[in-house]
Subunit: 153 residues, 2 copies
DNA sequence: CAATGTATGTCAGACTACTGACATGAGTCA
DNA sequence: TGACTCATGTCAGTAGTCTGACATACATTG
């Protein structure tokens, strides 16, 4: 058994296929980020900060789909490496707005190019319409999973 | 900032949306499986064994998208709990064909129903055509990510 | 103004999954 | 037959993320 030809189709469940796709993307991203000394969450955090400067620890956590505790650990590491910077005291409330440093921006540039390549590979066999459709379908699924307090019939 | 209305759209990257969907599914599954004392991989392993009895440790690992080392740890736990059973010696080669026990089948039944409900929630707002389309698109992405040794050009 | 609720940052411990490494069994080929 | 390749099972150590808990800051409400 198992000769390169796995033959696994597992009842063609959409959930299973979604997990498989996410896993494939995860592996591909790891493959290009690991040589750069970065994890996926590490990259995601920098990318998010580049697009939305001043995000807090909790906001970064939500944007990268980890807990704020995990993001806290990561942020302290990134701070120690001089990739991001946070004020010593919160300007308002408790939230500490985080910013990329020049060094962080440089590291992100390299990683971002690699990640973009991976995403292009993933979408290589889909036309613009299909990519749009896919994004739309996924977004609908997310909404259905997170909003369904309406468990009525 | 952040008032329930996140406003995050992050350049509408398909990769990001895929990660978000997988994360939402992961959370939803955890929410229903954790009360049953099971992790997602734990459930995935039992489900895979029910559909394909006799799978080896390595094959189960591939089917659940973890390393064979991780699956090995899990399998030993499941064996200790009396949910699965493996022969002491390999009938051929080194692969140990694993089987569900009656108890494992019972535990799977409960979990499987809960997981099916989650998947139905996720697909609640998609018709049959859209579900089919989504599966097709995801499968294409997986193929593009895993087969692209053709990096020419 | 005092009480409550919500959101945040952070510390500590536990768990899951990973990488690295080694030995065994089977197939391939010179 | 012997060398090589590949897949498997397993042990050990590491790393990333999680849950639990606590204190602080702001908004809401009585």
């Amino acid at each position: 058994m198992s000769q390169g030809e796995p033959g696994i189709e597992l009842d063609t469940s959409v959930g299973y296929t979604l997990k498989a796709a996410a896993s494939a993307l995860h592996s591909a991203l790891e493959a290009v980020l690991s040589p750069l000394g970065m994890t996926i969450t590490h990259y995601s955090c920098l990318e998010l900060l580049a697009q939305r400067p001043g995000l807090s620890n909790s906001e970064l956590a939500r944007g990268t789909f980890v807990t704020r505790q995990s993001m806290n650990v990561l942020l302290k590491a990134l701070e120690r490496q001089g990739l991001v910077i946070r004020p010593a005291r919160a300007p308002v409330g408790r939230a500490l707005p985080t910013e990329l440093t020049a060094r962080g921006r440089r590291q992100l540039e390299v990683a971002s190019a690699a990640v973009r390549r991976v995403e292009q590979d993933m979408l290589a066999n889909l036309d613009a319409n299909e990519q749009d459709q896919m994004r739309r379908l996924l977004t609908t699924c997310i909404a259905s999973l997170t909003e369904p307090p309406a468990s009525a019939t």
